[in-house]
């Protein structure tokens, strides 16, 4: 019944998508634990969900909006906007040159 553990390639692919870097030990651990967890969550297949609508949100709300042009109470000053940036130059956040 147990799914065989996820391949190293599969784990690395997921890590790449998720933007995560894994150590060798983490790759190994994840390939085992991911498989175990996936095996567990398959118990949902025991439940018949034919014709059941999926729940995106439990709140009974719809059409929640704000009015265009209403006062901006949350504007950040430049000082605030950049206060946590490590690399700031010319009123901008800076990263190493991206190829175009």
């Amino acid at each position: 019944m147990a799914t065989k553990k996820l391949s190293r390639e599969a784990v690395l692919h997921l890590a790449k998508l998720a933007g995560l870097t894994l150590t060798d030990a983490e790759i190994e651990k994840n390939s085992v634990q991911l498989s175990e967890t996936i095996d567990y969550i398959k118990n949902l297949d025991e439940l018949d969900t034919e014709g059941i609508e999926p729940t995106n949100s439990v709140v009974d709300l719809s059409n929640v909006t704000f009015e265009d042009g209403e006062k901006n109470e949350r504007a950040l000053t430049s000082e605030e906007a950049f206060s946590n940036g490590k690399n700031v130059k010319d009123n901008a956040f800076v990263v190493g040159r991206i190829m175009q």
Binding site: G69, A75, A92
Partner: protein, 446 residues
């Protein structure tokens, strides 16, 4: 060479000109603002910040959808689209996946639409959805600078079916779409400023083969309709050559170099895209009633094509003129304002075409107020009392000075008469009726 046919689809992004952002109250449209001066926790993607949708943006997207003959989804929602790029503050873009605001529309073109020589055509629109724009990257030396002022600006994405087989059809479609968006008054749709962005996806197949080719090339960074046409032509030729030599063109994203007139391969952001869409848990869904949709639909003005046809059919205006006049809503409104004022004074049949000619030939500039335009137009139309004595002496003087022209006229080159009329008018400082001058001149030259 085999008989190939291009298969082209379009993706068009239009920034809405709302006052606020898509999900926050930050000012929109301040393109010249200091970088990162129009931000808040929401559009800067700070931890814990949450989006609340802008009502106007939702309604304008419905408006665009209806103007493009789409069906509006009564139930719609936002989804998160995940990919990683420095200009994407949250690591996902709030967009719409399987329940876009509008679906299954089309734009129709009559035969010889405007300046295009063609049969009647219809191009289908796959979907129209609403999303948020990203920040802007500025590349400088070894740095890439990020400005988040544009982050979270409402962006409407229009996706067509791969219905196009010629670059001139694409150009016609885009020009019409641009005019419609401008008529709807929901976006500046400025190609230079990037508030309207167009991405054709192009492939080529052997004519008659069923289905779509197994690859497509997307071209980005094109900021004019002409360049779209040229980029498509360049690509189609490139694909045909590759196919002819037995190769399948690479599925990729390419950029357009307008100076060299070529496209070039852009390094793709990721290998295969896997956006991991799921319903945005921070935003409850939307339910639209018929009356709500109807109320928005009512705000759609007469669109350029309908207006153009009305000008042709009801006013007898020449097709090309009607096309030119309806490209810009304010120009057509200018025309209709001056028309109704002139009609009060002048009941002449065919006055519409006369006015249009004056406008399109720029004989009276439309930079004038409509009132001044009307005044000037009526002045030019009114027959002027001509002093017959002065006319006689003036004609004599002009004929004496222009013997060569007189000879030419007598030798059968009768168009010279226009030159002579002009000379006489000048001699009389314009205080004469041109047709009276012409009659008198013709008499003299008999």
């Amino acid at each position: 060479m085999k008989d190939y046919t291009p298969v082209i689809g379009l993706e068009i992004h239009v920034e809405l000109k709302t006052k606020s952002g898509m999900f926050c109250q930050c000012a929109n449209g301040l393109h010249e603002a200091v970088p990162n001066s129009q931000v808040c926790p929401v559009c800067l993607g700070l931890p814990g910040a949450l989006p609340v949708p802008n009502k106007q943006a939702i309604e304008w997207t419905i408006k665009v959808g209806k103007a493009l003959n789409c069906t509006i989804n009564k139930h719609t929602k936002f989804d998160r689209k995940h990919y990683s790029y420095p200009d994407l503050a949250k690591g996902y873009q709030i967009s719409q996946y399987d329940e876009p605001i509008a679906v299954s529309g089309y734009l129709e073109f009559g035969p010889n639409h405007g300046t295009y020589k063609n049969e009647a055509k219809r191009f289908c629109i796959h979907r129209v959805h609403l999303e948020e724009d990203t920040g802007k990257l500025i590349h400088k030396n070894n740095d890439t600078l990020i400005d988040f002022n544009r982050s979270g600006v409402p962006l409407v994405e229009i996706v067509t079916e791969p219905d196009f087989s010629s670059s001139s059809d694409v150009k016609m479609f885009l020009e019409e779409l641009h005019a419609i968006i401008r008529y709807l008054d929901v976006s500046e749709a400025d190609l230079e400023k990037g508030t309207m962005r167009m991405e054709p996806n192009i492939s080529v197949k052997v004519k008659g083969v069923e289905g779509l080719p197994n690859y497509k090339v997307e071209v980005k960074n094109i900021n004019s309709f002409n360049f779209v046409k040229r980029a498509i032509d360049f690509e189609v030729k490139r694909h045909m050559e590759l196919l002819e030599s037995g190769e399948t063109p690479l599925q990729e994203t390419r950029g357009w170099n307008s100076e060299k007139g070529i496209t070039y391969s852009q390094r793709t952001k990721e290998g295969a895209h896997d956006y991991r869409y799921f319903p945005e848990p921070d935003i409850p869904p939307f339910n639209f009633t018929d009356s709500y949709i109807d109320a928005i639909t009512k705000t759609i003005p007469e669109l350029p094509k309908t207006k153009m046809e009305r000008y042709i059919k009801a006013m007898g205006i020449r097709e090309t003129d009607a096309y030119i006049l309806t490209r810009d809503k304010s120009l057509s409104e200018y025309f209709e304002t001056v028309l109704s004022a002139i009609k009060k004074e002048n009941k002449e049949v065919g006055i519409e075409q006369k006015i249009v000619s004056v406008i399109t030939n720029k004989r009276i500039p439309t930079t004038l107020s409509t009132k001044d335009f009307v005044k000037k137009f009526l002045e030019n139309m009114r027959p002027i009392d001509t002093d017959t004595g002065l006319l006689d002496t003036s004609i004599k003087a002009v004929l004496a000075r222009n013997e060569k022209a007189v000879t030419e006229y007598k030798n059968g080159k009768i168009t010279v008469i226009m030159f002579l009329v002009g000379q006489v008018m000048k001699e009389m400082k314009g205080k004469a009726d041109a047709s009276a001058v012409r009659k008198a001149l013709e008499l003299q030259l008999e």
